[in-house]
Symmetry: D3
């Protein structure tokens, strides 16, 4: 049985994911390596930086995307690992990030949006159904096999679904912000802290209060 | 009984709403008045313009926001009227738009996001519960009375709910794009055309296929 | 008789107004709530922020626009109240602001420009003559009644004049910067501190030194 | 006696000047050479371009800034010659322009602002008093001699005054837009076409209707 | 013997590569699918678009990155395949692109820069030495193995070298422009058409005219 | 004989030059005067600022461009003097800079690129051959005489060569970033610290290891 613990882990994962971004301000110097210590006391738009004289090659490299993420830590069967200013401080002010997305057999990256980025994903393993919805409520959908790429326009709801019941799937995405952020539509509406009041969800999804409660519980909220 | 007709109207309304925007490219001349005729044959990022020598004061003014919208045309009880390049062509390249939001008694602007804009709304009439969810899944919520303003950060899911059962509510919003766009989380996920396949919604909302069908029908999809 | 005190108050008001903005840098996180304390010791482009974990709903809301401003504090009969990072810290990095403009009977918001923003204003009360001048020296002008909106393109000189001798007028404006700034053409040219030397104003306005002195005194400089 | 003809010439000059710019959209290709023919039928934000295969070196060069402008064509004694997309089509999408400013003995570039650009000017000849007014109504002023540079922040009112009664002065300016635009405060307020109604100018400058008429006539309006 | 044919192919490849980009203007609608036909007659900053009503899923997907490029077509032993608006028209206005980089055993992507983009690359196969030079002339270098990522800051010279003499290497890169462009330092300086005059290269590289000729011939210019 | 000392001086000069920039983030206040003291302990994108109440006219002016630079300090015979936030702190956030370029008789500003700016240069003295290479490897070249201007598109390799064997040449450039940065192709590839490994240069320039060594020594690396 799924408990709410994996969801917490998912939410922590989301916090990392919220380390994604779009059409960021241009850099005003070669690089501005995120000062991971200062970032706990000084807060600005983006991150403050270390003295550029202290820059080393290691600030520009990461192995964070090398290993598959744990896709069994949440009820959806996916894991997003992100290069962000915490594990790749040289990324700060660069205006983009990369992510690896692991999806278990029949796993799903649920309908979500990035508030600050467009995304292009390239399928490396598996067979994935992807799609996005535009603001006229049209869905654009495609089945991706290794080598196929797909565009998710900025800020629009999209999903990635591993249609293979057995094997895992893997994609690598570029996003045009150092911190795109992510909101999963179901998680954000039903399990925020504190929760949105029931009337809003009853009306918004045209369901009963009981249904709201059930969905909320199932989603671990 | 709700039919799908009001939903169609809502969707048309959404098309208008999709006429909203964020941090647009800066103008390269005083104004670039949208050419509403050319816009049916020439498509660019934004809109092409009329000869600036043909500019008149009427291109910079609109009464589109003067009258309350029809809040009974959809099942949620709200109406958004937007100044956009169709009714206010001088808005093109200006990097912002204004909207009036009418909400019937107990009506709701359901949880939605603008892919290309931040928003500040000022309550002019009624008592409105507003809120947004951040990418760490925290909800920020407030009750607005006339004169109160609230910020909805760029791209994040938010809602406005008229907590007064009887009287209508009214807010005026500024959004920092000439075309912010809008996606209602429930409508986009359950009633897109074509619809997202059931498995994705079952998994994404942790509901049964029957539930998916019921929500879809209730939302008019 | 008007003394220079009201002018000082006007100038203080202008300082607030200078809390307006256009096509600001995009946000690199969900929000970056202005740290009103730090802003007295640390200065950057925009404002530094509080720890996002300390964010509360109150940071995103303000009643600053709820009450009419005092239109008798200056010789022009207007008052601009602005949502800015001081009274609405959640506005920081959001790329827009809202303002309420109160104008007494026959009052005037004198010809002015916003160095960093376009503006759309919606008339809520009264009858207002508005206009702007483009860089080819053409004037575009319109009479607004409640519900009518008008666009003032970025950086161009414009004015709002309450043509009703008795009743007050009210508009609400959106501006696409968190800090648009404002310069009133007459105030900036004739009453800056220190003042522009007489020769420049004599030549620039083709008036005598006596005229310069008279205008300066009348404007409270 | 000054007639209105020189003013017309000044205004034509302003039209050219309105060919200046600030923080323009970034280029999406190496160059996008303005199509000076198309620009009479197709209007967009900026200018449409010629086929890049037709690019030649001449598109990237101009002698427009080589010769002193005629400083006696207007009552102020200045002339601004600008590199713009008409005389330097390769400038389109490049995000900046250059201007040469000639000022006769005791001539003045009257208080003016650029709605879309910051400016840095370098004095090449003569002795020039320059200044700008910030939005708190402070004036910053300096006397420039050959080799001295000065910054005029974006959108703020500034002037350049040749304090030498005899010899001409010359500066070269960079502005960070391909089309900064210019508004001279006195010209825009007193001699627009059509003119701003007298009441607005009487109130705005605290002068009589007779004074408005006199200034307007003196300025050639 | 290498002939100039492979170089022509390389240059054609560079043309495609010049289909890369950085901090592009933000989109003003959900998508603006590049009109590959119109792009031969109408030229703007970026690309004009098809009627959004004609959008299909195929506009947002490509298999262009699926197959290894031919690394033997040039003397360096590399091939860059790029998703651009020609093979992925939905990419237009999205502000980023993806590229696959194939490098033969001991092959090299020679020192080059992207005039309009930062880049993050992730190594998928092989062992690659990468490095960039900053504007203080410091080199930052790293050996990447599968799963390792590296940042190349905007506009700076960098290279990728397959240090394995036998097997091929593969990386996937994200770049924050839809059209980053590329310039290989040696190719651009020694083999442009027409060529840079010898004196400039002799002085610039401190070599003899004979050396210039030899390098030029070896590079196929 | 040239020693490596002048090269060090050149590199220091390059460090200054790296004080150049392009399409910078827009300002969020009138000015944000670089705090030259804080800039040694606090690092952000751009520079932190002094209290705006402490602004003086001297912050907006500099004589740094008044005197010819020493063109004999490096083996190329040029000197670039730049207005940057160190000598002109009011430039911070303004989105542009100005530079003076002195070139000795037959001196050369070697092929180089600015990672963050487009440039327009105006020739004030001498006869200069200028050129740039686009990403299709085409060269655009022109001979400039006093008064002639030329555009160097963003990020592309370009050069300026004094074709007069005797007299010095002088140009003034505007660049659309407060910190454009510069990379000289030969210097960056052959004399970085640490140096790029020989194999990369041998392959990249199709020369022998001996040639690499010779060029490196000649360039002072």
């Amino acid at each position: 049985m799924k408990t709410s613990l994996p969801l917490l882990q998912l939410l922590l994962g989301l916090n990392l994911l919220s380390g994604l971004a779009s059409s960021d301000p241009d850099p005003l110097q070669d690089y501005c390596i995120a000062d991971t210590k200062a970032s706990q006391s000084l807060f600005i738009n983006g991150a403050s930086c270390i003295n550029p004289n202290s820059a080393t090659s290691s600030h520009f490299t990461t192995s964070a995307l090398a290993k598959p993420g744990n896709t069994s830590a949440n009820r959806f069967g996916f894991n997003v690992t992100l290069a962000n200013t915490a594990n790749l401080p040289g990324l700060n002010t660069m205006g983009l990030t990369m992510a690896r997305i692991d999806i278990a057999g029949n796993g799903l990256v649920p309908p979500h949006s990035h508030p600050r980025a467009s995304e292009v994903t390239i399928c490396l393993e598996g067979t994935i159904l992807v799609g996005f919805i535009d603001t006229s409520n049209r869905q654009f959908t495609q089945t991706l096999r290794p080598g196929d790429s797909f565009v998710f326009p900025k800020g629009l709801i999209h999903f990635l679904y591993n249609v293979d019941t057995k094997g895992p799937a893997l994609t690598v995405s570029g996003l045009n912000s150092q911190n795109p952020g992510v909101q999963i539509a179901s998680i954000a509406t039903f399990t925020s802290k504190p929760t949105i009041i029931d009337e809003v969800l009853e009306k918004g999804f045209q369901i009963s209060g009981q249904d709201v409660g059930k969905i909320r519980r199932n989603l671990g909220g």
